[in-house]
C-alpha cells in the first residue's frame, strides 16, 4: 500500500473571484466536499485540502494552480527523531554548540536552519480565535483581520514558548534538531547578552540562530493551522499527557515543514514574479508569502539580518498598502458603547421576590429550630398556625397572576405604530434591532443590541448560585421598520432575549467548555438584526447641547475678545463701551442666539435623533424577541395559570389553619 500524499494549500485572505467555479470543479470533477474546500481555501496560513494518491492529487493541483493558489503535493516523511532538549550552549565564531542530555549538536555558520517558534498552552490559538470573532463582529465577513505577526510573537513569548531548531543539509533533509525550553538551559553560553528573563534568553537564541544561518526559515503558526498530526490540544492541568502530546505534534509540524521546504510549492503562473524576490528570504521562500515569514516582528524584536528584513518589508509593504487603501478600512464604524452595568445580585421581578420570600419565610418557621427562644418559637407557631404566611403567599401569587393577565391585555389592547409616526405616550412598535453602538456580547463575541451575562458559582452542595450579573441595559439601540428608525432605551426593563449560551471563565468564543469548572457563565443576547417587539413610553429626548445662558456667556466673552466687533456697539464713538452700550450688546447677542435656536428647532430631525422609547414611571416596558404578539401573550397567560393554582391552594390552606387555630 502506497503512502498517502497530502495536498497542502496556502489559504488566501481574500479568495479569488472565481472561487465558486473552482469549488464547483473540485466538487464535481474531484469529488471533494464543497463546504470543506471553501473553509480550507479561505483564511490565513497552511491547510490540508485533501489527501490521497499522487495522481488524482496532481489533477486537483492543476485546478488550484489555475485558481492562483500556492500549494504543495507532498508525501510526508516520518519524523526520524524528536528534537533533542538542550541543557546549555556555546557560541563560537563559526558555529553554535548545543549541549543536549545525550549528545552535542553543532549548528555551523552559514547553514540552513528551519525554526519553529511555538506556543504550547493554547493561548495563541485562543487569541487568534478571539481576534477572528471580534474582527467578524466589527467588520463583517468581508474584512476579517488575523493576528499581526508582532502580536503572534508577543503572545508566544507571554504563553508557554518552545523553540525547535532544525539543521538542514544541502538536500533540505533534517541533519539534526534541538528543542529549547525557556529556563531549562544554562544561559551562560549567551555571554553578556544573557538576561534574567528566561523568555528573553529564548528570543536571543532565536536571534542568534538567524544570525548564524545562511537560509533561515521561521514558522510561528503551530496551533493555528489545519495540518495532519499537528493538532494543538488545550493544556489540561489534570492530564499531564496533553503537554507531551503537544510536543509530539510540534515535532511532526517541524518535520512536515522541512518536507514542504524540500518539495517546494506549486506556484500559480501569475505570481512567478513574486517568487523571485521572496525566494531568498526566511519563510517567504517556502511559503511564497512574506507576511507569513514574520518580517514585521523580526525587525522589531530581533534586530538582525537587515537585508532579510528589508526584502521582506518591501514585499509586505505591497500587501499592507493594499489593506490600507481598502475602502472598508476607512469606515469609522459605530461608536464604542458605555461600560456594562454590573449588579451584585440578580434583579428579579417583584412577584418572584414576593413568592420566593413568602415560601422562604414559611420554610424558615417550619424547619428552623429556635432553641430556647420562646418569643421566636411563639411567633413562628402563630404565624403559621393562623394561616398568615400561606395567606401572604396566596396574596403575592394572586397579584402576580393578575399582573401577567394585565400585561397580556395591555399588549392585546395596544395597536402597533409605525416608527415614522410614533406619538408621545405608550406605543407598540415592531421591527429589526440595529446597533447604535459597537456592542459585542462578551462570551460569544456576536454583534448584539443587548446582552446579559450572569455568572454562577458552584456551591458545596453542587448547586449553582448567581454570583453577579452584568448587562448592557444602559446601551440604547435602534429599531427599524419599513418607515424609519427609533431609539430604544432598555434601562429598567427585563429584556426577553432569545439567544442563550453557556460557558466557563477563560473561554474564548465558543471554543472551550469544561464540566469541571466551579464557575459558569450564562449569556443571553439579542443579536443584531433580530425582529423585536417593543412596548414602552415614547418621549422626546432631552436636549444635550449647552443651555442658552451658557451660550450667551460664551458669546459675550467672545465679543469682548474681539475689539472690531465690539466697536459696532460704540454708539457715541468715544472708543469705550458704556453701560447702556453694553446692555445693547447683550440684547443683540441674546436675540441672535434665540433666533439661531429657533431656526435649529424648525429643522426636521430624524426620528431616532429626537424620540426615544423607554421606561416611564408606572408604565411597563417590554422588549421581547418573539415571532408574534400572540406568542408573547400566550406566554403571559401560561405564567398566570400556575400562579392562580398556587394562590388557590395557599388560600385553602390558610383558611384551614385559621379555623383550626380558632377552635
Amino acid at each position: 500500500m502506497s503512502q498517502a500524499t497530502y495536498l497542502i494549500v496556502e489559504q488566501q485572505l481574500k479568495p479569488p473571484e472565481n472561487l465558486p467555479e473552482v469549488l464547483k470543479e473540485l466538487s464535481q470533477k474531484h469529488q471533494l466536499d464543497i463546504y470543506q474546500c471553501r473553509q480550507r481555501l479561505v483564511g490565513r496560513g497552511l491547510s490540508l485540502l485533501t489527501r490521497g494518491e499522487t495522481e488524482p492529487l496532481g489533477k486537483v493541483s492543476k485546478v488550484l494552480k489555475d485558481a492562483g493558489y500556492f500549494h504543495w503535493v507532498v508525501s510526508p516523511s516520518k519524523p526520524g527523531f524528536v528534537p533533542h532538549r538542550i541543557r546549555s550552549l556555546e557560541i563560537q565564531s563559526d558555529h553554535i554548540i548545543f549541549n543536549c542530555q545525550k549528545k552535542t549538536v553543532v549548528f555551523p555558520k552559514n547553514s540552513t536552519i528551519l525554526a519553529v517558534f511555538a506556543e504550547t498552552s493554547g493561548e495563541l490559538a485562543d487569541k487568534s480565535v478571539k481576534q477572528l470573532l471580534s474582527s467578524h463582529a466589527y467588520r463583517g465577513m468581508d474584512d476579517i483581520r488575523h493576528l499581526e505577526d508582532t502580536k503572534i510573537h508577543k503572545t508566544i513569548l507571554q504563553g508557554k514558548p518552545v523553540l525547535d531548531l532544525y539543521l538542514l543539509d544541502d538536500k533540505s533533509q533534517v541533519a539534526d534538531a534541538v528543542r529549547i525550553f525557556p529556563g531549562k538551559f544554562d544561559p551562560k553560553g549567551l555571554g553578556e547578552q544573557a538576561s534574567v528573563s528566561s523568555k528573553q534568553n529564548l528570543a536571543l537564541v532565536l536571534r542568534l540562530a538567524e544570525e548564524y544561518a545562511k537560509d533561515f526559515h521561521l514558522f510561528t503558526d503551530f496551533g493555528l493551522v489545519n495540518l495532519p498530526g499537528c493538532t494543538l490540544r488545550r493544556e489540561d492541568p489534570d492530564n499531564p499527557q496533553t503537554q507531551r502530546q503537544n510536543l509530539i505534534s510540534l515535532a511532526r509540524y517541524g518535520w512536515l515543514m522541512t518536507d514542504l521546504l524540500r518539495t517546494g510549492a506549486v506556484n500559480p503562473p501569475q505570481q512567478e514574479k513574486e517568487k523571485d524576490f521572496s525566494g531568498a528570504v526566511t519563510a517567504a521562500m517556502l511559503m511564497q508569502n512574506p507576511l507569513l515569514a514574520g518580517a514585521g516582528q523580526l525587525n522589531e524584536m530581533l534586530p538582525i539580518a537587515k537585508e532579510i528584513s528589508t526584502e521582506i518589508d518591501k514585499a509586505s509593504a505591497i500587501e499592507e498598502k493594499t489593506i490600507a487603501q481598502s475602502p472598508d478600512t476607512a469606515d469609522p464604524g459605530l461608536p464604542a458603547p458605555p461600560p456594562a452595568q454590573s449588579t451584585a445580585n440578580w434583579t428579579k421581578p417583584g412577584f418572584w421576590i414576593g413568592t420566593g420570600g413568602s415560601l422562604g419565610v414559611m420554610a424558615f418557621f417550619m424547619l428552623f429550630d429556635f432553641g430556647d427562644n420562646q418569643f421566636l418559637n411563639k411567633a413562628a407557631y402563630h404565624a403559621f398556625a393562623t394561616g398568615a404566611i400561606p395567606l401572604t403567599l396566596a396574596g403575592f401569587t394572586f397579584c402576580s397572576a393578575f399582573y401577567f393577565l394585565r400585561m397580556k391585555r395591555q399588549i392585546e389592547n395596544t395597536p402597533t405604530s409605525k416608527v415614522r409616526s410614533v406619538a408621545m405616550g405608550m406605543v407598540e412598535v415592531k421591527g429589526q434591532a440595529l446597533r447604535k453602538f459597537a456592542l459585542v456580547s462578551p462570551l460569544s463575541q456576536s454583534p448584539c443590541v443587548f446582552y446579559r451575562l450572569t455568572k454562577y458559582r458552584r456551591e458545596k452542595n453542587n448547586q449553582w448560585k448567581v454570583n453577579s450579573v452584568s448587562s448592557s441595559a444602559n446601551v440604547p439601540f435602534l429599531l427599524e421598520d419599513e418607515t424609519g428608525r427609533v431609539e430604544i432605551d432598555p434601562a429598567g426593563c427585563r429584556v426577553s432575549a432569545g439567544t442563550r449560551q453557556e460557558g466557563t471563565p477563560g473561554q474564548v468564543g465558543l471554543t472551550r467548555l469544561s464540566d469541571k469548572s466551579d464557575d459558569k457563565w450564562v449569556e443571553e443576547t439579542i443579536v443584531e438584526g433580530t425582529l423585536l417587539y417593543v412596548l414602552g413610553a415614547a418621549s422626546v429626548k432631552p436636549s444635550t447641547g449647552p443651555i442658552l445662558t451658557e451660550q450667551k456667556t460664551e458669546a459675550l466673552r467672545e465679543l469682548k475678545r474681539n475689539p472690531q466687533k465690539l466697536q459696532q456697539f460704540d454708539q457715541d464713538g468715544d472708543g469705550k463701551i458704556g453701560a447702556d452700550e453694553w446692555d445693547n450688546a447683550r440684547a443683540a447677542v441674546e436675540q441672535k442666539l434665540i433666533r439661531a435656536s429657533l431656526n435649529a428647532k424648525s429643522e426636521r430631525k430624524k426620528q431616532e435623533e429626537h424620540i426615544v422609547i423607554g421606561k416611564a414611571k408606572g408604565r411597563p416596558l417590554i422588549i421581547s424577541e418573539t415571532h408574534s404578539e400572540d406568542h408573547l401573550t400566550a406566554r403571559y397567560l401560561l405564567y398566570s395559570i400556575p400562579l392562580f393554582f398556587v394562590a388557590a391552594i395557599a388560600t385553602g390552606g390558610a383558611i384551614y389553619l385559621l379555623i383550626n387555630y380558632l377552635k
Binding site: N413, A650, G652, A654, I659
Partner: protein, 189 residues
Amino acid sequence: MAGWISLGIILLVLLGIIFYIIMIYNGFVALKNNINQDWSNIDVLLKQRYDELPKLIKVCEGYMQHEQKTLEAVVKARSMVNSARSDDQKLQAQNALTDTLKSLFMVVERYPDLKADAGFRQLSNRISEIEDQIADRRELYNASVTIYNTRLDQFPDVLIARAFNFGSRALWKIDPAHRQDVEVSFQHS
C-alpha cells in the same frame, strides 16, 4: 383538608372574578381613552400641516400669478378647518384641504422654477411627510377602534360592556369620492 382547599379555591375564584371584572372595565376605559388620544394625535399633525400652509402659499404666490383660483381654494379650505366645530365638519374640512393641496401640487408641475425653489421643495417635503404621518396615525386610530369594538363583542367582555354601557366607536372613513377610479388620459399634441 380537601374541603378547605375547595373552599379556598371557590373564594379565590370569586375574588378572581371580581378582579377580572375590574380589569375588563379598566381595559375598556383605557381603550376609550386611547382612541381619543389617537384621534387627538391626528389633530396634532393636522395642526402642523395647517401651520405650514401659509408659508407654502407665500412661496407659491411669487411664481403662480395665473393660478390664483387654486391658491384661493387652499386658503379657503384652510379657513374652513379653522371654523369647523363638530367632528364631522372637521373631517370634511380636512378632506377638502387635502384635496386642494393635491390640486396645488398638480398645478406646480407647470412651474419648473417653483419646483426648483429650495424653499418650496423644503415645504412640500415637509407637508408630504406630515401627510404620510397623518395616514399612519389614521391607520393607528382605526386599529385602536377595531380592538375596542372587537372587545365589545367578545365574551366575557360583552357582559361588562353592556352592563356599563360602553358603545361602539366609528372607524375613520374616507370621502366616498376618493374610492372612485382615477381617470388617466394622455392627450396627443
